[in-house]
């Protein structure tokens, strides 16, 4: 077994060297692989384990030279999003920061934020594009530019796939890894919803992992662990841009919260309706005086003006 361990050490050393290897280095690596089947086997183990590490929450939350846990001036996630705060990552990073004074220094991170009703397109350096809906916040840590953190709201990602460097969206305990694609991530009151228009993404949460193709969705619900698969017409992904929204069994409170955020509507809901599920497509005009009655009709509720806003209540 000592000999096997030596081969494993060699495989690890090669794996670390390859990141910066030139052509001569790759030739030497190839010759090492060819020298013995045990070499190829050991390297296979190392590479596959290394592949696994991209899914490791412990590693992602290990202390880095990031602003994690340091920037207390970030506004807190808004109402309705408290459920995911206290995610393991931030807490663990903060704890580790305390252990490592001087090692980890706060650095700038890019934050993109939109007010309710406002949308914004962010062009990333690699040619990818993010369309951020109203009431959303997305940030990139300087130390991990290929990881987008969606703190709240929803965004449509059009990602230029790079096989050498994958792009990941993190929100709460959900990670969405792009495999070359157009997809949307929405972080709302009922959970995190991922919808794919083109290409595919891998969604992971805790130990669950789902690969989604065009027209497939995953919901990481607040109420339950794991991921629930669903479907959507690919053309409906990112429908908020054209004020066209599809809901599948979403609690009415989540529907209203989303509409308020996206379009700066001021709709409130009588509490007894919060949990009523809604399934259907909502097409809005942008004129609240028309949209609210339409919404009331679709949801079987009664509407009335409430100061500057609107109130939906039970129809009976």
């Amino acid at each position: 077994m000592t000999k096997g361990e030596t081969v494993l050490d060699q495989a690890i050393a090669w794996h670390l060297r390859l990141a910066g290897a030139d052509e001569a280095g790759w030739l030497a690596f190839t010759e090492w692989l060819e020298a013995a089947p045990a070499h190829a086997e050991a390297y296979d183990r190392v590479a596959m384990t290394d592949g696994l590490l991209s899914e490791s929450e412990a590693l992602a939350s290990a202390p880095a030279s990031s602003a994690d846990g340091v920037n207390d001036n970030f506004p807190h996630p808004g109402r309705g999003f408290g459920w995911w705060v206290g995610g393991l990552g931030v807490a663990a990073a903060a704890a580790a920061l305390a252990l490592l004074p001087g090692l980890v220094r706060p650095q700038g991170s890019s934050i993109y934020e939109t007010a309710p009703g406002m949308a914004r397109t962010v062009a990333l350096a690699d040619g990818s594009r993010v369309e951020l809906s109203g009431g959303s916040r997305l940030r990139f840590e300087e130390s991990a530019p290929q990881v987008a953190i969606l703190d709240r709201g929803e965004a449509l990602f059009q990602v230029r796939h790079d096989p050498t460097r994958s792009f990941t969206v993190r929100t709460g305990d959900v990670a969405v890894q792009d495999l070359g694609t157009v997809f949307s991530v929405a972080h709302g009151g009922d959970g995190v919803r991922v919808e794919v228009a083109e290409g595919s993404v891998a969604v992971s949460r805790q130990q669950r992992r789902l690969t989604l193709g065009p027209g497939q969705t995953a919901l990481a619900g607040t109420a339950q662990a794991g991921l629930v698969a669903g479907t959507i017409a690919p053309a409906d992904v990112g429908g908020w841009r054209s004020r066209s929204l599809t809901f599948q069994g979403a609690p009415l409170s989540a529907v209203i919260e989303r509409l308020n955020r996206l379009y700066a509507l001021h709709i409130s809901l009588s509490p007894n309706l919060s949990d009523r599920p809604f399934t259907g497509m909502v097409q809005l005009t942008g004129d609240a005086a028309r949209d609210v009655p339409h919404l009331a009709a679709l949801t079987g509720t009664k509407w009335r003006r409430d100061g500057e806003g609107w109130l939906l209540s039970s129809a009976d």
Binding site: L8, I12, A13, L16, L18, A19, G20, A21, D22, E23, G25, W26, L27, F29, T30, L33, P37, A40, Y43, D44, V46, A47, M48, T49, D50, G51, L52, L53, S54, E55, S56, E57, A58, L59, A60, A62, P63, A64, S65, A96, L99, L100, L103, D126, G127, S128, S143, A144, Q146, V147, Q158, R160, H161, D162, P163, T164, G180, V182, E198, Q207
Partner: protein, 192 residues
Amino acid sequence: MLAGMSGDAAGLKAVFLAQRPMLLRMLTARLQSAEDAEDVLQDLWLKLDQMADRTINAPAPLLFRAAANLATDRRIAASRRAARDVAWAEHQPGPDEVPGMERDLLAREALEQANHVIDRMPPRMATALRLYRIDGMGQRDIANELGVSVSAVEKLLRKAYRQIMTFAKNQASAEPLPWRRLGSEGRLRRDD
């Protein structure tokens, strides 16, 4: 969608063609199969247009790295597919099929165990590994970040991988995914 072809695609394709024999040799050694190696090269070829859109200083090493990553992706996909095929084939797997299901469990278990190992690493080691693996930093930059020498970083990383490989049961370690049981479509053959 983001279209936009870069003018550099042609240049990258030329480098690909010049390096093709060496790429194929590396992939064949890596995957222990000329057929799989050809498939990966084909995948790589199809991705060149996307890759060419960024500034590339050293195209040949980039191609080798991308090829090696695709090869590893293929191995991981094969191991997951093998586990799935076995799991779906029968509701009550026979004794010869249990290793496949175990392998799928092992993948989850391996991740949990890797987490366990990482959580217990000395902070500096965990940071080095994170910067290297999650943030994609080079060893020199990590050395600057941690205020240590490059060789110290390499040692830290070697130890980190060593710990994970030793303590975390790898999906391929208990029962290595066989090279040659994969047919041309990458499906597990059930008759051998």
